[in-house]
Symmetry: C2
């Protein structure tokens, strides 16, 4: 039975890795749609999110079925519960990519991104793609060092987020409040995307060590020093 | 065993109701702190969030213990898994209240709220308090009609959120971009708070009927027609 259980659990882990791939692709495409004001690319990201949602539902049903049939205890039980939490994080990451795409669609045929912010958006897109790809590797390989390294990517995202807010709130902002609103939300979507990736990595640490990462219970908390959250 | 199981599950439901009470209190106090630029009230909301987090952790450990010891199947199993999802929603609602409090603290001794927005914030605070209180009643009484009525509160919140964004993006905005950023984020925090309350209600519908509410899988989705998300 334990063999069958672990085979099924491996299948769940594969689905989680696939979800990281889809969430990463969604955010990469959403970033391009946003930068290029490409409405058909934006539409495709928005439409594709249903697939991530379906995968999550399927994965969760599989996990519940596994709990019912195999009645796991101890570490095995913890693995199944943790997989369901990861699927929730990854589904939310898909939602956040869709939100970025919707900002692109909203402002089309204009670009939502003032010229001076293109490079920060490019950077945020890169960090998002890197962090979710690493989260996938962490799940696939249960690599603790890689899981801990994800914190550094998240720090990079927080720095970008902070730059964004400092610039938006500066006295010489000249792009109007519509752009300020768009950029505030977009920046927050990227930051939350990275937070959920960190949460996934912390859950892997928990699975392997039995200890939560610093913030792994619940979604990774918004950075305490984020200008958006009160400093 | 089933009797013992249901007694323990009742205790979990009581903890969930307590979490709704704490999240509601946190958001009510955060709203007051924001409106009154009351930094000590804001600090108390920020500090109290750790209690909600601890309650969630305790509840989840209890649920995992219940799975391991009682090995529930079918509806019983579904209830335990759903309780864990509700605790995640409620913990996040506490985080969002804390975020509102942090905006108040950030701008102290100034008020973060331009005078003309006080009434919208008051309304958002009221809807937030009503919706989380209703979510508590829904959990306590498993009242399907009340669960469905929560949608109406959420519609009210979406309307307020939309008003906010239209106003912020209007040509005669005169409060500067810092206020635009603050109000964008605050409005989103309230909207997400309501979304999670809807998610809790949908999960109760699922427990009672076996059918998910329209959006209950995962967190309640941000409203598709929210101006912040692409319309």
């Amino acid at each position: 039975m334990r063999k069958a259980f672990h085979e099924e659990l491996d299948k769940v882990a594969e689905d989680l890795v696939e979800m990281t791939r889809l969430a990463g692709s969604a955010m990469a495409r959403a970033t391009t749609a946003l930068l290029d004001a490409d409405v058909s690319l934006a539409e495709s990201v928005i439409a594709a999110d249903a697939h991530i949602d379906a995968l999550r539902e399927e994965l969760d049903l599989k996990a519940i079925d596994l709990l019912a049939r195999q009645q796991p205890v101890a570490t095995d039980l913890r693995m199944v519960v943790t997989a369901m939490r990861m699927s929730a994080d990854l589904e939310r990451m898909g939602d956040l990519a869709r939100h970025v795409a919707k900002v692109a669609r909203l402002r089309y045929p204009k670009s939502a991104v003032p010229a001076e912010f293109r490079s920060v958006i490019v950077d945020m897109g890169h960090v998002a793609e890197t962090i979710v790809t690493k989260a996938g590797s962490v799940i696939a390989a249960r690599d603790l060092d890689a899981a801990r390294a994800i914190e550094r990517e998240d720090d990079a995202m927080d720095d970008l987020h902070r730059q964004f807010f400092e610039r938006i709130a500066s006295a010489d902002w000249s792009y109007g409040t519509e752009a300020a609103v768009d950029m505030t939300l977009v920046s927050r979507y990227y930051e939350r995307f990275a937070d959920h990736a960190v949460s996934v990595a912390h859950r892997v640490i928990f699975l392997v060590t039995g200890q939560y990462g610093p913030d792994a219970e619940g979604s990774h908390e918004d950075s305490e020093d984020s200008p958006a959250n009160g400093h």
